[in-house]
């Protein structure tokens, strides 16, 4: 609080009032509940990894082997997945759809967000609110009419249909996120450029976009994650096995009566999650700012 030196003031601020608490008290009120919650949150992943590398006989014999551990781990499930099924193809489809839809959405969102925040055209506020409402329209009430729209355009069973439809999920979110970023860019910069004779397009490309790169990264990776995650449209629009995306394929193609399905099912879930987890590990801060930014706006 009111300490004499700057240094101690800074540390004091970071600690807040935690120095008032005794260690045992912190243990019970903070570390123990946090530990339990973390265990619960992470257990399904541990279980996923463990099952994916467990030999089949250990999976179904829970009396001889401790189910919480694995002896003689095997990569059989993963290699079966990658070399005997169409999994690489599904991964490629998912990647292709996610990248395509995300790129289209970011371009559209940058333009829309700039127009709403900086061009201040007539009705800009209304458009902003409408886009926010578009964010609230869930896919589960749209998939039936969209299926007939897609059918009418001749895009049924084509990944292109997803590339065109996913932007409706991503544009509202990215536009709101980018609006927040664009608002923080000082408009004096743009005024200078306008006086120097730059067109609106040049201002956007040469001034606003370079300054909003962190926001663009956030919007990009968050949109990418949403695409990878999307299920109901992919399930409805894609019919033939080689065209499916990973989430749909894992649910539909691996599920049979076999009690040995679990190893390959978990391997499929694990491999399908890994790209996102890796991406997340590199861009944690961007994820958090994307998630909280769009909500706070």
């Amino acid at each position: 609080m009111t300490d004499s030196t700057l240094q101690s003031a800074a540390t004091d601020d970071a600690e807040g009032m935690s120095y008032l608490e005794s260690v045992p008290r912190r243990l019970v009120t903070l570390y123990l509940p946090l530990f339990i919650i973390l265990i619960v949150l992470l257990f399904p992943f541990y279980w996923m990894v463990l099952t994916a590398i467990k030999p089949d006989e250990q999976l179904i014999d829970m009396n001889t082997y401790n189910p919480f551990w694995v002896v003689h781990p095997t990569f059989k499930h993963v290699s079966k997945l990658l070399f005997e099924t169409q999994y690489p193809r599904w991964l490629w489809n998912t990647m292709y759809v996610a990248l395509g839809a995300t790129t289209l959405s970011i371009i559209a969102s940058v333009l829309a967000a700039y127009a709403i925040v900086r061009l201040r055209f007539r009705g800009a506020d209304t458009v902003g609110v409408l886009i926010f409402f578009a964010y609230l329209v869930p896919p589960s009430i749209l998939f039936i009419p969209l299926a007939s729209v897609i059918q009418a355009y001749g895009l049924f069973d084509s990944p292109l249909s997803l590339i065109l439809v996913y932007p409706t999920l991503l544009i509202p979110f990215s536009t709101w996120l980018l609006m927040g970023y664009f608002k923080t860019i000082p408009f004096e910069l743009e005024e200078c450029a306008l006086i120097d004779g730059a067109s609106r397009w040049q201002i956007l490309v040469k001034i606003v976009v370079p300054l909003a790169v962190p926001g663009l990264i956030s919007a990009f990776i968050f949109s990418f994650t949403l695409c990878w995650n999307e299920f109901i449209y992919a399930l409805t629009f894609l019919q033939s096995t080689p065209n499916k995306t990973v989430p749909v394929a894992v649910v539909n193609e691996f599920v049979d009566g076999d009690i040995y399905k679990w190893g390959s099912l978990m391997a499929g879930a694990l491999v399908g999650s890994l790209p996102l987890v890796v991406l997340y590990a590199f861009f944690v801060e961007h994820y958090v700012s994307a998630m909280t930014g769009a909500v706070k706006e």
């Binding site: 609080m1 807040g16 935690s18 509940p33 946090l34 919650i37 949150l41 399904p44 992943f45 279980w47 996923m48 099952t51 189910p67 919480f68 959405s105 559209a108 969102s109 333009l111 829309a112 127009a115 061009l119 055209f121 800009a124 458009v127 578009a134 609230l136 869930p138 589960s140 009430i141 749209l142 039936i144 009419p145 299926a147 007939s148 729209v149 065109l164 932007p167 409706t168 544009i171 990878w228 995650n229 109901i232 990973v246 989430p247 649910v251 679990w262 099912l265 499929g268 399908g272 999650s273 996102l276 987890v277 997340y280 944690v284 994820y287 958090v288 998630m291 909280t292 909500v295 706070k296």
Partner: protein
């Protein structure tokens, strides 16, 4: 460039035309139309139009492969007498209310824990978000395996602890199935609630708590009179999203139970898919989907007015 050049000679007719053209080109409304065009095209073609089309389809007897004819309210009358539809409404409300309430409670608690000072703070926070990152269907499949009727690790552990004598059929018994999907949904939703509320908590100045402590406030009073009022706007937004996404959930149910056993976990979204796409009765499926809209509007309205009231109490907007 062209604006400056063209505005100087304004006498000859051609120059007049040029200046009008360039004035139009420099007009912000005109530019804005072009800037808005891509986003508007996507949202109109693939969001607004299907939304209207869905409502229209609910008044037709459309099936897969054939456009329907207008049949008035027949689909809705049919649904009104359909016990499975009402069961799905009940399930959806139960699922939404129970899961959202628990997600809020655990999420807020976790946010308060994460907001305290501790070693490896950033690392722990990033771990918390992982369930939100992994595709829902894939983590749902992990839950499916955890809930397996024969090899469930939960049944195994409880048996070993001597608490139960035979395996629980998590996804085979109607009530267990409901509880199981709700728990999976909570697991998946808590990180989102916690991390967004944490972002709100970090904007609360620690000096407020210090002042309150000096005045003798207990930790509950600090929460009730400082944290909660300051957090209300963000709680309203987060819970609106949470309720909307829970209410319209499809993928978790589809991966875990597909609506079974005996429709005990059918939500309106899964029933709509079942009737509309699998059975091919698009009109009926669209009617079920359209029946979700009033609930969604109610949820949005409640949170909207909740936020307005906060703004009014704080005497201004929260920008």
């Amino acid at each position: 460039m062209s604006t400056v050049q063209a505005s100087i000679p304004a006498r000859t007719p051609s120059a007049d035309a040029v200046s009008r053209w360039s004035r139009v080109r420099a007009d912000r409304n005109f530019i804005a139309v072009w800037f808005m065009l891509p986003a508007a095209a996507f949202l109109l073609l693939f969001l607004a139009y299907p939304l209207g089309l869905g409502v229209w389809m609910s008044f037709t007897d459309a099936r897969i492969g054939r456009t329907g004819v207008y049949i008035g309210l027949e689909n809705y009358e049919w649904l009104w007498d359909d016990a499975i539809f009402w069961l799905s409404v009940f399930n959806t409300l139960l699922y939404t209310i129970v899961a959202s309430a628990i997600k809020f409670a655990i999420g807020l608690y976790l946010a308060l824990l994460l907001n305290r000072n501790m070693p490896f703070k950033a690392f722990i926070r990033s771990i918390v978000l992982i369930p939100f990152i992994v595709p829902t269907v894939l983590s749902a499949i992990a839950f499916w395996w955890i809930y397996d009727s024969q090899f469930s690790i939960i049944s195994w552990s409880l048996t070993r602890l001597g608490l139960i004598s035979h395996n629980i059929d998590f996804l085979g018994d109607p009530n267990w199935a409901r509880a199981s999907v709700i728990i999976a949904n909570i697991w998946r939703g808590v990180p989102f609630v916690a991390i967004t509320l944490l972002a709100g908590l970090q904007t609360v100045s620690p000096s407020l708590y210090e002042a309150a402590t000096l005045d003798g406030a207990t930790s509950w009073q600090r929460f009730r009179h400082i944290t909660y009022p300051l957090l209300t706007p963000i709680i309203a937004v987060v819970m609106t999203f949470s309720v909307l996404f829970t209410f319209t959930d499809f993928q978790l149910i589809w991966a875990l139970t597909r609506g079974g056993p005996v429709n005990a976990t059918h939500l309106m979204a899964t029933l709509s898919y079942q009737r509309g796409i699998i059975s091919g009765r698009l009109g009926e499926g669209a009617a079920i989907a359209t029946a979700m809209i009033p609930f969604l509007l109610a949820a949005i309205a409640i949170s909207w007015f909740g936020m307005q009231r906060r703004k009014w109490q704080q005497g201004g907007n929260n920008d």
